[in-house]
């Protein structure tokens, strides 16, 4: 970083009234869009593109960026309150977030999510400002072998994340992996399990699976409650996290920010992996991991912090290299092009005002979102006061219509109903939905990266170890798998003589 002048000038740009206004508009729209499951920031930005024609490039991007990370805040709300994850990055929040809501701690969950998101986002922006050029190069070093290692790590974390019956969790995960193969094979063009349907040619989208298995599945399951009294609304105890809650989550938030920032830079899959990795890390570090999945506050703080940090750092490849990391970035790329600004490696040098204007607007945007969250959390939590019997059809319809908005496809509505049934059956027969959905997301990343790696290595798997990054990751993976096994074996050996002692004693 040569001098601080461009960065400070950037603040000047942000504090112009027009830019502040559009920042506010952006984050509000983003938050609302995030609350609506199905419609994602990508589609919203596409709809709003014409609006950007008549305004300055900086202003336009400030607004669009606001929509993007605002949607992350909004997505948490339906995950926690209605068990409907609208985006892949909100899935992990559902586990503990919804559990907390059922215990009457929805306000705490939403509150800690807002705080964590704010901190994660802000840390990420600071890191971006300082490290952007350095880490951009790092992103390019991640090739197929590295993604394979990451995906493997992710799948391992999926196993960590689940509670209860191991066999059933693995079954769910494997079914998720199988579902991910539906569609046209990237490498050969062969149609896999599409049964001739063109709507399945591109594979099953994440949203019908997640909303069906989590949202509809849960609603159908609750229909089986016999007594009407069982649908009484949960008590809403407290609205904002206590000091104790904050202290408990501090570590999770800190670690989540770093993890989220690093993983978000990687094009493709960064945000989901970051929330999963943060959650898995917290659960493993915790002295009381059995709390996770039943309302552990770190289980909400970690993924929420991570996914906001990741969504901020996913701007890095776009702004420093000119490569969009995900669908939303692609549209922002398009919006920039329409404005006559071509994102590329020279953007920072050629248009410093634009770069710093956008980056600095994120500070303001995050602050605005935190401020807005304060009254909104109280408002949204009141939704839980509504009787279950009324909330149910509303949720069902939001799901059915929301899933349509993803691809403007009625077929997706049929899909979400099928997965709703699957979700109900899974819940009834003791299978957790989490592993299925997460394995579904990671499965295609794993397979395509693995096959690409084998193409690059000409079929020689030792190639994984010859590359520094993938080699390191695989070693970490091996350690993570083998360490608990080794510990278990040692304990068993040490424990056996003790047990004999005990038996002799009784």
């Amino acid at each position: 970083m040569e001098s601080l002048t461009p960065m400070i000038d950037g603040f000047g740009v942000v504090l112009e009234p027009a830019n502040l206004l559009y920042c506010l508009i952006g984050v509000v729209i983003g938050m609302l869009v995030g609350v609506l499951p199905g419609l994602g920031p990508a589609a919203t930005i596409a709809i709003l593109l014409p609006l950007t024609f008549s305004i300055e490039p900086v202003t336009a991007i400030i607004m669009l960026a606001g929509i993007f990370y605002g949607a992350q805040y909004g997505g948490t709300i339906t995950s926690v309150l209605l068990r409907l994850p609208g985006e892949a990055s909100s899935v992990v929040t559902v586990f503990d977030g919804h559990a907390m809501a059922r215990q009457g701690r929805a306000g705490t969950a939403l509150g800690i999510a807002a705080i964590g998101s704010f901190i994660g986002g802000t840390v990420s922006i600071v890191a971006l400002s300082i490290l952007a050029p350095v880490v951009a190069g790092f992103a390019l070093d991640f090739g197929p072998p590295e993604y394979t290692a990451l995906a493997l790590l992710g799948i391992l974390l999926v196993a960590t994340v689940s509670n209860g019956g191991r066999v059933k969790a693995v079954v769910a995960a494997c079914i998720g992996l199988l579902l991910a193969t539906v569609g046209q094979d990237t490498f050969t063009g062969a149609e896999r399990f599409t049964f001739g349907s063109m709507s399945l040619a591109d594979g099953i989208d994440f949203v019908p699976v997640a909303m069906g298995v989590f949202g509809l599945g849960e609603i159908l399951y609750n229909l089986e409650e016999r007594a009407k009294g069982a649908t009484a609304p949960s008590r809403v105890a407290n609205v904002w996290p206590s000091r104790g809650d904050l202290r408990q989550s501090a570590g999770a938030i800190g670690r989540g920010s770093v993890l989220g920032f690093l993983l978000g830079i990687l094009p493709g899959g960064g945000a989901t992996l970051s929330s999963l990795a943060a959650y898995g890390l917290e659960k493993r570090r915790s002295k009381t991991p059995e709390r996770f999945g039943h309302g552990a506050i770190e289980g909400v703080a970690a993924p929420e912090t991570a996914n906001n940090a990741a969504s901020t750092s996913s701007f890095i490849p776009l702004l420093t290299l000119g490569i969009p990391a995900n669908a939303t970035m692609a549209i922002i790329f398009g919006a920039l092009l329409i404005q006559g600004v071509t994102p590329g490696p020279q953007l920072v040098a050629e248009e410093p005002e634009l770069f710093w204007g956008v980056v600095n607007s994120m500070y303001i945007g995050n602050i605005l979102l935190l401020i807005m969250s304060i009254p909104l959390v109280g408002l949204f939590v009141k939704i839980l006061r509504v009787r279950g019997t009324i909330l149910a059809p509303i949720t069902v319809l939001i799901t059915l219509v929301g899933v349509y908005t993803v691809r403007n496809s009625v077929f997706d509505i049929a899909l979400v109903i099928v997965f709703g049934l699957v979700g109900y059956l899974m819940k009834k027969y003791g299978f957790e939905p989490g592993p299925l959905v997460l394995a579904f997301v990671l499965g295609s990343l794993l397979e395509t990266s693995l096959r690409r790696s084998l193409l690059v290595f000409d079929g020689d798997p030792t190639g994984f170890l010859t590359r520094p990054i993938s080699g390191t990751l695989l070693v970490v993976l091996a350690v993570v798998i083998l360490l608990p096994l080794a510990r278990h074996l040692l304990r068993a050996r040490r424990g056996a003589p003790d047990r004999q002692h005990e038996d002799a004693g009784t």
Partner: protein, 195 residues
């Protein structure tokens, strides 16, 4: 692997078959016996059906094994390639084999599994709920989303939720109006609509 029942308040002898056996579907015991409820909290107050019997668990295991076998068959026809040069069918085949093996394992554990629930008379409500959704998706392209949404909401509120007619009708119209305003009005989503 420790049997899950060790975590609950004392194991219940699983009933020999898991039909809609209303006699055994006593509330509170069933609620606690349905072991691993992932949502914690209010489990004891919910009135859940009894744990599923061995037959039901076997059926579940069978279904899973069938899925695995079907997947394996489908992958086979796509070509299996080799470990070094995987083809379109390699990965799905491996996954399907894993599913098949796990399905068999579940079958072996069928007697000891108690984190599943039996079907109960309330299951017809699920069928009704799903039927409304199927009706929705069938009708939406023909007559737009307004009427199917209205009917779905009405059924859920009045028949499944046992709310009063007045509340059901008013709420249903309210929902459709709100959806229209948001999705068609504000967001201009090209969902098939009548108005």
């Amino acid at each position: 692997m420790t049997t899950p029942s060790a975590e609950g308040p004392g194991p219940e002898p699983a009933p020999p078959d898991a039909g809609p056996d209303t006699a055994t579907a006593t509330s509170t015991d069933a609620g606690a016996g349905a072991g691993a409820d992932p949502d914690g909290g209010e489990a004891a107050e919910e009135h859940r059906p009894a744990p599923a019997g061995t037959t039901a668990n076997l059926v579940v295991a069978l279904v899973i094994t069938a899925v695995g076998v079907a997947g394996a068959a489908g992958s086979w026809s796509l070509g299996l390639g080799s470990a070094a040069a995987p083809s379109a069918g390699t990965w799905p085949f491996l996954t399907s084999i894993a599913i098949t093996c796990l399905g068999v394992a579940l079958g072996a554990l069928a007697r000891r599994t108690d984190d599943a629930e039996a079907l109960s008379p309330a299951t017809w409500r699920i069928a009704a709920g799903v039927a409304t959704m199927v009706g929705f998706v069938a009708l939406i392209s023909v007559i737009g989303f307004e009427i199917p949404s209205l009917l779905l909401a009405l059924v859920w509120l009045r028949f499944l939720g046992r709310e009063s007619w007045r509340l059901s009708i008013a709420t249903s119209f309210g929902i459709v109006a709100a959806f229209y305003a948001i999705f068609v009005g504000a967001l201009a989503i090209p969902i098939p609509h009548l108005l």
